[in-house]
Protein backbone atom coordinates (compact mmCIF):
# COMPACT_ATOMS: atom_id res chain seq x y z
CA UNK A 1 0.00 0.00 0.00
CA UNK A 2 2.75 2.42 0.97
CA UNK A 3 4.51 1.52 -2.29
CA UNK A 4 1.40 2.41 -4.24
CA UNK A 5 0.96 5.69 -2.36
CA UNK A 6 4.59 6.59 -3.03
CA UNK A 7 4.29 6.13 -6.75
CA UNK A 8 0.96 7.95 -6.86
CA UNK A 9 2.63 10.85 -5.04
CA UNK A 10 5.47 10.99 -7.53
CA UNK A 11 3.15 10.82 -10.51
CA UNK A 12 0.97 13.59 -9.05
CA UNK A 13 3.97 15.81 -8.55
CA UNK A 14 5.19 15.12 -12.07
CA UNK A 15 1.80 16.14 -13.46
CA UNK A 16 1.57 19.24 -11.24
CA UNK A 17 5.02 20.49 -12.12
CA UNK A 18 4.28 20.19 -15.82
CA UNK A 19 1.66 22.92 -15.39
CA UNK A 20 3.97 25.88 -15.22
CA UNK A 21 4.71 29.29 -16.62
CA UNK A 22 4.61 28.72 -20.41
CA UNK A 23 6.86 31.70 -21.14
CA UNK A 24 9.61 30.27 -18.95
CA UNK A 25 9.24 26.83 -20.53
CA UNK A 26 9.63 28.22 -24.04
CA UNK A 27 12.71 30.25 -23.21
CA UNK A 28 14.68 27.60 -21.36
CA UNK A 29 16.66 24.80 -23.06
CA UNK A 30 16.24 22.79 -19.85
CA UNK A 31 13.83 19.84 -19.96
CA UNK A 32 10.27 20.45 -18.76
CA UNK A 33 10.88 18.12 -15.85
CA UNK A 34 14.26 16.84 -14.68
CA UNK A 35 14.08 13.13 -14.00
CA UNK A 36 17.07 11.34 -12.51
CA UNK A 37 17.57 7.94 -11.01
CA UNK A 38 20.03 5.29 -9.95
CA UNK A 39 20.18 1.56 -9.35
CA UNK A 40 22.95 0.03 -7.26
CA UNK A 41 23.68 -3.59 -6.51
CA UNK A 42 26.48 -4.56 -4.18
CA UNK A 43 28.11 -7.56 -2.59
CA UNK A 44 29.66 -7.63 0.87
CA UNK A 45 31.97 -10.26 2.33
CA UNK A 46 33.64 -10.03 5.70
CA UNK A 47 36.09 -12.18 7.59
CA UNK A 48 35.53 -13.37 11.18
CA UNK A 49 32.31 -11.43 11.85
CA UNK A 50 28.99 -10.42 10.36
CA UNK A 51 28.91 -6.73 9.50
CA UNK A 52 25.89 -5.04 7.89
CA UNK A 53 23.96 -8.29 7.55
CA UNK A 54 25.11 -11.86 7.07
CA UNK A 55 28.31 -10.79 5.44
CA UNK A 56 30.63 -13.49 6.72
CA UNK A 57 29.19 -15.96 4.23
CA UNK A 58 28.90 -13.20 1.58
CA UNK A 59 25.71 -11.23 0.98
CA UNK A 60 23.98 -9.58 -1.94
CA UNK A 61 21.57 -7.82 0.42
CA UNK A 62 23.17 -4.54 -0.56
CA UNK A 63 20.83 -2.76 -2.95
CA UNK A 64 19.78 0.85 -3.45
CA UNK A 65 17.36 2.35 -5.93
CA UNK A 66 16.21 5.95 -6.26
CA UNK A 67 14.14 8.03 -8.64
CA UNK A 68 13.59 11.76 -8.47
CA UNK A 69 11.63 14.42 -10.27
CA UNK A 70 12.67 18.07 -10.05
CA UNK A 71 11.11 21.07 -11.68
CA UNK A 72 12.27 24.66 -11.82
CA UNK A 73 9.10 26.78 -11.94
CA UNK A 74 10.95 29.96 -12.82
CA UNK A 75 14.26 31.39 -11.64
CA UNK A 76 13.31 31.47 -7.97
CA UNK A 77 10.97 28.56 -7.34
CA UNK A 78 11.78 24.89 -7.50
CA UNK A 79 10.07 21.73 -6.32
CA UNK A 80 11.05 18.09 -6.28
CA UNK A 81 10.61 14.64 -4.80
CA UNK A 82 12.76 11.53 -4.56
CA UNK A 83 11.65 7.97 -3.90
CA UNK A 84 14.21 5.65 -2.41
CA UNK A 85 14.38 2.02 -1.38
CA UNK A 86 17.25 -0.06 -0.09
CA UNK A 87 18.15 -3.41 1.32
CA UNK A 88 21.15 -3.72 3.58
CA UNK A 89 21.07 -6.81 5.77
CA UNK A 90 18.14 -6.35 8.11
CA UNK A 91 17.72 -2.68 7.14
CA UNK A 92 15.34 -1.35 4.53
CA UNK A 93 14.08 -4.53 2.89
CA UNK A 94 13.34 -2.52 -0.27
CA UNK A 95 10.44 -0.67 1.35
CA UNK A 96 10.03 2.48 -0.76
CA UNK A 97 9.92 5.79 1.03
CA UNK A 98 9.98 9.48 0.26
CA UNK A 99 13.66 10.29 0.59
CA UNK A 100 13.08 14.02 0.18
CA UNK A 101 10.47 16.40 -1.15
CA UNK A 102 10.40 20.13 -0.99
CA UNK A 103 9.41 23.44 -2.38
CA UNK A 104 12.26 25.91 -2.56
CA UNK A 105 11.93 29.66 -2.97
CA UNK A 106 15.06 31.77 -3.35
CA UNK A 107 14.55 35.44 -2.43
CA UNK A 108 18.17 36.39 -3.05
CA UNK A 109 21.40 34.48 -3.53
CA UNK A 110 22.02 35.03 0.19
CA UNK A 111 18.55 33.97 1.36
CA UNK A 112 16.39 31.07 0.32
CA UNK A 113 13.68 29.06 2.06
CA UNK A 114 12.93 25.39 1.67
CA UNK A 115 10.02 23.53 3.21
CA UNK A 116 9.21 19.85 3.19
CA UNK A 117 11.40 16.86 3.84
CA UNK A 118 14.98 18.00 3.32
CA UNK A 119 18.29 16.22 3.69
CA UNK A 120 20.31 17.22 6.74
CA UNK A 121 23.48 19.16 6.01
CA UNK A 122 25.83 17.52 8.49
CA UNK A 123 29.49 17.40 7.56
CA UNK A 124 30.66 17.15 3.98
CA UNK A 125 28.91 14.00 2.81
CA UNK A 126 25.83 13.24 4.92
CA UNK A 127 23.47 14.21 2.13
CA UNK A 128 25.09 11.79 -0.33
CA UNK A 129 25.45 8.89 2.09
CA UNK A 130 23.26 6.69 -0.11
CA UNK A 131 24.29 8.02 -3.52
CA UNK A 132 27.00 5.77 -4.83
CA UNK A 133 27.70 7.73 -8.01
CA UNK A 134 28.46 10.92 -6.10
CA UNK A 135 31.63 9.70 -4.41
CA UNK A 136 34.55 7.31 -4.67
CA UNK A 137 34.17 4.96 -1.66
CA UNK A 138 31.40 2.37 -1.48
CA UNK A 139 31.14 2.95 2.25
CA UNK A 140 31.82 6.49 3.37
CA UNK A 141 33.94 6.64 6.55
CA UNK A 142 31.65 4.84 8.97
CA UNK A 143 32.87 6.82 11.94
CA UNK A 144 30.98 9.88 10.67
CA UNK A 145 28.48 8.43 8.22
CA UNK A 146 27.23 5.12 9.65
CA UNK A 147 24.86 3.48 7.20
CA UNK A 148 22.94 1.88 10.06
CA UNK A 149 21.99 5.35 11.32
CA UNK A 150 20.85 6.62 7.95
CA UNK A 151 17.21 6.94 9.03
CA UNK A 152 18.17 9.08 12.02
CA UNK A 153 20.65 11.31 10.25
CA UNK A 154 19.52 11.69 6.67
CA UNK A 155 16.53 14.01 6.52
CA UNK A 156 14.11 16.11 8.54
CA UNK A 157 10.57 17.30 8.00
CA UNK A 158 10.50 21.06 8.51
CA UNK A 159 11.99 24.21 7.08
CA UNK A 160 15.45 25.34 6.09
CA UNK A 161 17.04 28.71 5.38
CA UNK A 162 20.06 28.79 3.11
CA UNK A 163 22.25 31.22 1.26
CA UNK A 164 25.57 32.07 -0.28
CA UNK A 165 27.32 35.23 0.90
CA UNK A 166 30.28 36.48 -1.17
CA UNK A 167 33.10 37.98 0.89
CA UNK A 168 35.14 39.51 -1.92
CA UNK A 169 38.83 38.66 -1.62
CA UNK A 170 38.07 36.63 1.51
CA UNK A 171 36.09 34.03 -0.45
CA UNK A 172 32.46 33.19 0.31
CA UNK A 173 30.27 31.77 3.05
CA UNK A 174 27.58 29.19 2.45
CA UNK A 175 25.13 28.68 5.31
CA UNK A 176 22.18 26.42 5.99
CA UNK A 177 19.97 26.48 9.10
CA UNK A 178 17.06 24.15 9.71
CA UNK A 179 14.45 23.10 12.22
CA UNK A 180 11.76 20.43 12.29
CA UNK A 181 11.35 16.84 13.29
CA UNK A 182 12.41 13.41 12.12
CA UNK A 183 9.95 10.68 11.32
CA UNK A 184 11.18 7.18 12.07
CA UNK A 185 9.47 3.94 11.21
CA UNK A 186 10.10 1.59 14.16
CA UNK A 187 7.69 -1.12 13.07
CA UNK A 188 10.60 -3.48 12.44
CA UNK A 189 11.87 -3.05 16.03
CA UNK A 190 9.32 -4.72 18.32
CA UNK A 191 11.01 -3.69 21.57
CA UNK A 192 10.36 -0.02 20.77
CA UNK A 193 6.83 0.87 21.88
CA UNK A 194 7.09 4.49 20.82
CA UNK A 195 9.72 6.87 19.52
CA UNK A 196 9.16 10.57 19.20
CA UNK A 197 11.59 13.25 18.12
CA UNK A 198 10.01 16.51 19.33
CA UNK A 199 12.64 18.63 17.62
CA UNK A 200 15.74 18.63 15.49
CA UNK A 201 17.55 21.88 14.76
CA UNK A 202 20.94 22.79 13.46
CA UNK A 203 22.99 24.26 10.70
CA UNK A 204 26.14 24.18 8.65
CA UNK A 205 28.51 26.98 7.78
CA UNK A 206 31.14 26.45 5.07
CA UNK A 207 33.79 29.00 4.14
CA UNK A 208 35.20 28.88 0.63
CA UNK A 209 38.63 30.26 1.40
CA UNK A 210 40.67 32.51 -0.92
CA UNK A 211 42.82 29.45 -1.67
CA UNK A 212 40.80 28.09 -4.57
CA UNK A 213 39.38 24.64 -3.88
CA UNK A 214 39.79 24.81 -0.10
CA UNK A 215 36.62 24.85 2.02
CA UNK A 216 36.47 24.69 5.79
CA UNK A 217 33.48 24.79 8.08
CA UNK A 218 31.41 23.22 10.77
CA UNK A 219 28.00 21.69 11.42
CA UNK A 220 25.95 21.58 14.59
CA UNK A 221 22.82 19.58 15.28
CA UNK A 222 20.61 19.21 18.35
CA UNK A 223 17.72 16.82 18.72
CA UNK A 224 15.82 14.96 21.41
CA UNK A 225 14.66 11.38 21.31
CA UNK A 226 11.76 10.36 23.56
CA UNK A 227 11.66 6.61 23.52
CA UNK A 228 9.74 3.87 25.28
CA UNK A 229 11.00 0.29 25.24
CA UNK A 230 9.29 -2.91 26.27
CA UNK A 231 11.83 -5.68 26.76
CA UNK A 232 10.74 -9.34 26.47
CA UNK A 233 10.27 -11.11 29.78
CA UNK A 234 13.03 -13.74 29.30
CA UNK A 235 15.53 -10.92 28.78
CA UNK A 236 14.20 -9.08 31.84
CA UNK A 237 14.45 -12.23 33.94
CA UNK A 238 18.00 -12.83 32.78
CA UNK A 239 18.98 -9.24 33.56
CA UNK A 240 17.39 -9.51 37.01
CA UNK A 241 19.20 -12.77 37.68
CA UNK A 242 22.47 -11.12 36.65
CA UNK A 243 21.77 -8.20 38.97
CA UNK A 244 22.02 -5.55 36.22
CA UNK A 245 18.45 -4.29 36.84
CA UNK A 246 16.37 -4.00 40.02
CA UNK A 247 13.98 -6.83 40.86
CA UNK A 248 11.06 -4.39 40.43
CA UNK A 249 11.90 -3.81 36.74
CA UNK A 250 8.93 -4.99 34.66
CA UNK A 251 10.45 -4.54 31.20
CA UNK A 252 9.20 -1.00 30.55
CA UNK A 253 11.83 1.66 30.04
CA UNK A 254 11.21 5.31 29.21
CA UNK A 255 14.03 7.62 28.30
CA UNK A 256 14.56 11.18 27.11
CA UNK A 257 17.76 11.72 25.23
CA UNK A 258 18.80 15.22 24.21
CA UNK A 259 21.70 14.80 21.78
CA UNK A 260 24.15 17.36 20.45
CA UNK A 261 26.32 16.54 17.45
CA UNK A 262 28.99 18.70 15.88
CA UNK A 263 31.58 18.22 13.19
CA UNK A 264 34.47 20.31 11.88
CA UNK A 265 35.21 19.80 8.19
CA UNK A 266 37.94 20.59 5.67
CA UNK A 267 37.76 19.84 1.95
CA UNK A 268 40.28 20.54 -0.79
CA UNK A 269 39.47 19.91 -4.44
CA UNK A 270 41.72 20.76 -7.33
CA UNK A 271 41.57 19.26 -10.80
CA UNK A 272 41.02 15.56 -10.14
CA UNK A 273 42.30 15.56 -6.57
CA UNK A 274 40.05 15.48 -3.52
CA UNK A 275 41.26 15.63 0.08
CA UNK A 276 38.86 15.63 3.01
CA UNK A 277 39.17 15.45 6.79
CA UNK A 278 36.57 15.74 9.54
CA UNK A 279 36.42 15.55 13.31
CA UNK A 280 33.21 15.08 15.24
CA UNK A 281 31.71 14.49 18.68
CA UNK A 282 28.19 13.36 19.57
CA UNK A 283 27.04 13.82 23.16
CA UNK A 284 23.82 12.58 24.78
CA UNK A 285 22.37 13.18 28.24
CA UNK A 286 20.02 10.37 29.11
CA UNK A 287 17.14 10.70 31.57
CA UNK A 288 15.94 7.15 32.07
CA UNK A 289 13.24 5.54 34.20
CA UNK A 290 15.77 2.77 34.93
CA UNK A 291 19.14 4.51 35.31
CA UNK A 292 20.90 1.18 35.88
CA UNK A 293 20.30 0.26 32.23
CA UNK A 294 21.45 3.40 30.46
CA UNK A 295 24.38 5.66 31.29
CA UNK A 296 23.62 9.24 32.32
CA UNK A 297 25.98 10.72 29.78
CA UNK A 298 27.49 9.22 26.69
CA UNK A 299 29.84 10.90 24.26
CA UNK A 300 31.61 9.52 21.25
CA UNK A 301 34.44 10.73 19.06
CA UNK A 302 34.69 10.32 15.30
CA UNK A 303 37.29 11.37 12.74
CA UNK A 304 38.70 10.46 9.36
CA UNK A 305 41.04 11.57 6.58
CA UNK A 306 40.29 10.72 2.95
CA UNK A 307 41.99 11.17 -0.42
CA UNK A 308 41.03 10.32 -3.98
CA UNK A 309 42.53 11.09 -7.35
CA UNK A 310 41.04 10.50 -10.78
CA UNK A 311 43.89 9.03 -12.79
CA UNK A 312 42.07 9.06 -16.12
CA UNK A 313 38.53 9.01 -17.53
CA UNK A 314 37.77 5.55 -16.17
CA UNK A 315 39.97 4.92 -13.13
CA UNK A 316 39.46 6.72 -9.84
CA UNK A 317 41.19 5.25 -6.76
CA UNK A 318 40.75 6.50 -3.22
CA UNK A 319 41.59 5.66 0.39
CA UNK A 320 40.72 6.73 3.90
CA UNK A 321 41.48 6.09 7.52
CA UNK A 322 38.57 6.36 9.90
CA UNK A 323 38.52 6.19 13.70
CA UNK A 324 35.56 5.83 16.03
CA UNK A 325 35.37 5.75 19.82
CA UNK A 326 31.73 5.04 20.82
CA UNK A 327 31.98 6.03 24.49
CA UNK A 328 34.85 8.26 25.49
CA UNK A 329 33.23 8.93 28.88
CA UNK A 330 33.84 5.29 29.75
CA UNK A 331 37.00 4.33 27.86
CA UNK A 332 38.92 4.44 24.59
CA UNK A 333 41.01 1.43 25.45
CA UNK A 334 39.51 -1.98 24.72
CA UNK A 335 38.50 -3.45 21.36
CA UNK A 336 34.78 -2.96 21.99
CA UNK A 337 35.33 0.77 22.47
CA UNK A 338 37.29 1.58 19.36
CA UNK A 339 37.10 1.04 15.63
CA UNK A 340 39.99 1.68 13.28
CA UNK A 341 39.10 1.36 9.61
CA UNK A 342 41.67 1.55 6.83
CA UNK A 343 39.93 1.45 3.45
CA UNK A 344 41.04 1.46 -0.19
CA UNK A 345 38.70 1.79 -3.18
CA UNK A 346 39.05 1.47 -6.92
CA UNK A 347 36.25 3.11 -8.91
CA UNK A 348 35.92 2.23 -12.60
CA UNK A 349 33.68 4.42 -14.73
CA UNK A 350 32.77 2.08 -17.56
CA UNK A 351 30.60 4.68 -19.28
CA UNK A 352 29.24 8.10 -18.35
CA UNK A 353 26.31 6.41 -16.61
CA UNK A 354 27.69 3.14 -15.32
CA UNK A 355 30.36 2.41 -12.75
CA UNK A 356 31.88 -0.50 -10.85
CA UNK A 357 33.70 -0.23 -7.52
CA UNK A 358 35.90 -2.60 -5.53
CA UNK A 359 36.78 -1.86 -1.93
CA UNK A 360 38.74 -3.45 0.91
CA UNK A 361 38.75 -2.59 4.62
CA UNK A 362 41.20 -3.57 7.31
CA UNK A 363 39.34 -3.23 10.62
CA UNK A 364 40.82 -3.13 14.09
CA UNK A 365 38.33 -3.10 16.96
CA UNK A 366 34.74 -4.26 17.22
CA UNK A 367 32.83 -1.06 18.03
CA UNK A 368 30.82 -1.01 14.78
CA UNK A 369 29.75 -4.64 15.11
CA UNK A 370 26.55 -5.91 16.66
CA UNK A 371 26.36 -8.75 19.17
CA UNK A 372 22.95 -9.69 17.81
CA UNK A 373 24.39 -10.28 14.32
CA UNK A 374 27.26 -12.30 15.76
CA UNK A 375 25.59 -15.05 17.76
CA UNK A 376 25.04 -12.91 20.85
CA UNK A 377 28.77 -12.87 21.58
CA UNK A 378 29.87 -9.82 23.53
CA UNK A 379 31.86 -7.31 21.46
CA UNK A 380 34.89 -7.60 23.71
CA UNK A 381 35.07 -11.33 22.92
CA UNK A 382 35.03 -10.97 19.13
CA UNK A 383 38.29 -10.97 17.14
CA UNK A 384 39.71 -7.49 17.18
CA UNK A 385 41.24 -7.72 13.73
CA UNK A 386 38.97 -8.44 10.76
CA UNK A 387 38.32 -7.43 7.19
CA UNK A 388 35.57 -6.46 4.75
CA UNK A 389 35.50 -6.70 0.97
CA UNK A 390 32.83 -4.95 -1.08
CA UNK A 391 31.94 -4.79 -4.75
CA UNK A 392 29.24 -2.60 -6.19
CA UNK A 393 27.91 -1.54 -9.54
CA UNK A 394 25.69 1.46 -10.16
CA UNK A 395 23.85 2.79 -13.17
CA UNK A 396 22.54 6.34 -13.01
CA UNK A 397 21.04 9.02 -15.18
Amino acid sequence: MSKLLSWIGAATLALCVCREDPAYAQESPAPLVDIHGFVSQGFIKSTDHNYLGKSERGSFEFTEVGLNVTKELGHNLRTGVQLFARDLGTIGNLKPQFDWFYLDYRFFDWLGLRAGRTKLPFGLFNEVNDIDSARVPILLPQSLYPVQNRDYLLAQNGVELYGNVPLGAAGALEYRAYGGTIFLDTSAQPIIVSLDIPYVAGGRLMWSTPLRGLEVGGSLQALRLDVEYLFPQPLVAAAQAGGSVPSTFDGHLKAKMPVVLWVGSALYQSGDLLLAAEYSRWRAHIESSVPELLPEVTENERLYGMASYRVNDWFWPGAYYSLFFPDIVQTREDRAHQQHDLAATARFDLTENWLVKLEGHYMWGTAVLSSAENGGISLDKLNRSWGVFLAKTTAYF
Binding site: P29, D34, E127, V128, N164, P166, E174, R212, E352
Partner: protein, 163 residues
Protein backbone atom coordinates in the same frame (compact mmCIF):
# COMPACT_ATOMS: atom_id res chain seq x y z
CA UNK B 1 73.81 12.24 36.61
CA UNK B 2 73.10 9.94 33.64
CA UNK B 3 69.43 10.62 34.08
CA UNK B 4 70.07 14.36 34.05
CA UNK B 5 72.16 14.04 30.85
CA UNK B 6 69.42 12.01 29.14
CA UNK B 7 66.82 14.53 30.20
CA UNK B 8 68.89 17.40 28.80
CA UNK B 9 69.51 15.43 25.57
CA UNK B 10 65.80 14.79 25.37
CA UNK B 11 65.00 18.47 25.70
CA UNK B 12 67.73 19.30 23.19
CA UNK B 13 66.29 16.83 20.68
CA UNK B 14 62.78 18.16 21.27
CA UNK B 15 63.99 21.74 20.81
CA UNK B 16 65.69 20.96 17.49
CA UNK B 17 62.54 19.16 16.33
CA UNK B 18 60.48 22.16 17.32
CA UNK B 19 62.79 24.48 15.35
CA UNK B 20 62.51 22.18 12.32
CA UNK B 21 58.74 22.00 12.70
CA UNK B 22 58.53 25.77 13.06
CA UNK B 23 60.59 26.24 9.87
CA UNK B 24 58.34 23.82 8.04
CA UNK B 25 55.19 25.57 9.29
CA UNK B 26 56.60 29.00 8.36
CA UNK B 27 57.48 27.73 4.87
CA UNK B 28 54.02 26.26 4.38
CA UNK B 29 52.35 29.45 5.63
CA UNK B 30 54.48 31.53 3.24
CA UNK B 31 53.52 29.26 0.35
CA UNK B 32 49.84 29.50 1.30
CA UNK B 33 50.13 33.29 1.64
CA UNK B 34 51.65 33.51 -1.85
CA UNK B 35 48.69 31.59 -3.23
CA UNK B 36 46.24 33.81 -1.38
CA UNK B 37 47.84 37.19 -2.06
CA UNK B 38 48.80 36.52 -5.67
CA UNK B 39 46.06 34.33 -7.07
CA UNK B 40 46.75 33.07 -10.54
CA UNK B 41 44.74 34.95 -13.17
CA UNK B 42 42.03 32.86 -14.78
CA UNK B 43 43.70 31.40 -17.86
CA UNK B 44 41.32 31.47 -20.77
CA UNK B 45 43.39 29.55 -23.33
CA UNK B 46 41.12 27.28 -25.35
CA UNK B 47 37.83 29.07 -24.69
CA UNK B 48 36.03 32.39 -24.37
CA UNK B 49 33.30 33.19 -21.89
CA UNK B 50 30.41 34.96 -23.62
CA UNK B 51 27.34 36.90 -22.51
CA UNK B 52 24.45 38.56 -24.29
CA UNK B 53 25.50 41.76 -26.09
CA UNK B 54 22.85 43.73 -24.12
CA UNK B 55 24.30 42.60 -20.81
CA UNK B 56 25.95 45.69 -19.22
CA UNK B 57 28.60 43.51 -17.59
CA UNK B 58 31.84 43.24 -19.57
CA UNK B 59 34.27 42.01 -16.94
CA UNK B 60 33.76 39.60 -14.07
CA UNK B 61 35.68 37.96 -11.29
CA UNK B 62 36.67 34.35 -11.98
CA UNK B 63 34.98 33.25 -8.74
CA UNK B 64 31.71 34.84 -9.87
CA UNK B 65 31.82 32.97 -13.18
CA UNK B 66 32.63 29.71 -11.39
CA UNK B 67 29.77 30.24 -8.91
CA UNK B 68 27.42 31.02 -11.80
CA UNK B 69 28.14 27.69 -13.48
CA UNK B 70 27.91 25.83 -10.16
CA UNK B 71 24.63 27.72 -9.48
CA UNK B 72 25.92 29.12 -6.22
CA UNK B 73 24.97 32.57 -7.52
CA UNK B 74 21.85 32.96 -9.60
CA UNK B 75 21.66 36.66 -10.42
CA UNK B 76 23.72 39.31 -12.15
CA UNK B 77 24.50 42.42 -10.10
CA UNK B 78 21.40 44.18 -11.53
CA UNK B 79 19.12 41.37 -10.35
CA UNK B 80 18.71 39.78 -13.78
CA UNK B 81 18.52 35.99 -13.58
CA UNK B 82 21.70 34.13 -14.56
CA UNK B 83 21.22 31.44 -17.18
CA UNK B 84 24.40 29.39 -17.48
CA UNK B 85 24.67 26.93 -20.32
CA UNK B 86 27.27 24.16 -20.62
CA UNK B 87 28.72 22.24 -23.51
CA UNK B 88 28.69 18.44 -23.64
CA UNK B 89 30.98 16.57 -21.25
CA UNK B 90 33.21 15.29 -24.09
CA UNK B 91 33.87 18.81 -25.40
CA UNK B 92 37.50 19.98 -25.35
CA UNK B 93 36.22 23.53 -24.78
CA UNK B 94 34.37 22.39 -21.67
CA UNK B 95 37.46 20.57 -20.45
CA UNK B 96 39.56 23.72 -20.75
CA UNK B 97 36.88 25.93 -19.18
CA UNK B 98 36.30 23.54 -16.31
CA UNK B 99 39.94 23.32 -15.29
CA UNK B 100 40.67 27.03 -15.74
CA UNK B 101 37.54 28.59 -14.25
CA UNK B 102 35.98 25.97 -11.99
CA UNK B 103 39.33 24.60 -10.86
CA UNK B 104 38.08 21.04 -11.28
CA UNK B 105 37.97 18.46 -14.01
CA UNK B 106 34.73 17.82 -15.91
CA UNK B 107 34.41 14.52 -14.03
CA UNK B 108 34.71 16.29 -10.67
CA UNK B 109 32.05 18.78 -11.74
CA UNK B 110 29.78 15.92 -12.80
CA UNK B 111 30.25 14.44 -9.32
CA UNK B 112 29.34 17.81 -7.81
CA UNK B 113 26.11 17.75 -9.81
CA UNK B 114 25.39 14.14 -8.85
CA UNK B 115 25.57 15.27 -5.24
CA UNK B 116 23.22 18.19 -5.89
CA UNK B 117 20.74 16.26 -8.05
CA UNK B 118 20.30 13.29 -5.72
CA UNK B 119 20.18 15.34 -2.53
CA UNK B 120 17.56 17.68 -3.95
CA UNK B 121 19.83 20.71 -4.11
CA UNK B 122 19.45 21.57 -7.77
CA UNK B 123 20.05 20.49 -11.32
CA UNK B 124 22.97 21.27 -13.63
CA UNK B 125 22.85 23.88 -16.39
CA UNK B 126 21.52 22.54 -19.69
CA UNK B 127 24.10 21.12 -22.06
CA UNK B 128 24.22 22.23 -25.70
CA UNK B 129 25.95 20.50 -28.60
CA UNK B 130 28.60 23.06 -29.53
CA UNK B 131 29.68 26.65 -30.19
CA UNK B 132 26.90 27.45 -32.66
CA UNK B 133 24.17 26.38 -30.26
CA UNK B 134 25.75 28.20 -27.31
CA UNK B 135 26.19 31.45 -29.27
CA UNK B 136 22.60 31.21 -30.51
CA UNK B 137 21.27 30.62 -27.00
CA UNK B 138 23.33 33.35 -25.34
CA UNK B 139 22.40 35.77 -28.11
CA UNK B 140 18.71 35.12 -27.47
CA UNK B 141 18.76 35.38 -23.66
CA UNK B 142 19.80 38.54 -21.86
CA UNK B 143 20.87 36.78 -18.66
CA UNK B 144 22.69 33.91 -20.36
CA UNK B 145 26.35 33.04 -19.92
CA UNK B 146 28.26 30.38 -21.82
CA UNK B 147 31.67 29.52 -23.19
CA UNK B 148 32.84 28.70 -26.69
CA UNK B 149 36.07 27.79 -28.43
CA UNK B 150 38.43 30.56 -29.52
CA UNK B 151 37.50 29.95 -33.16
CA UNK B 152 33.74 30.47 -32.62
CA UNK B 153 31.79 33.10 -34.54
CA UNK B 154 30.62 35.60 -31.91
CA UNK B 155 27.86 37.41 -33.77
CA UNK B 156 25.22 38.71 -31.36
CA UNK B 157 27.22 38.06 -28.19
CA UNK B 158 30.18 39.62 -26.46
CA UNK B 159 33.22 38.24 -24.70
CA UNK B 160 33.27 38.54 -20.92
CA UNK B 161 36.73 39.43 -19.66
CA UNK B 162 37.65 37.39 -16.59
CA UNK B 163 39.98 38.89 -14.02
Amino acid sequence: MQMLTRTIQGFDCMASRLVLRRSLVVSLLCAAACLVVWPAPAETAGFRVIVNSENPVSTANGNFVADAFLKKVNEWSDGLGLEPVDQRTNSETRRAFSLAVLGRSVAAVRTYWQQRVFSGRGVPPPELDGDVEVVRYVGAHRGAIGYVSEAANLDGVKVLTIH
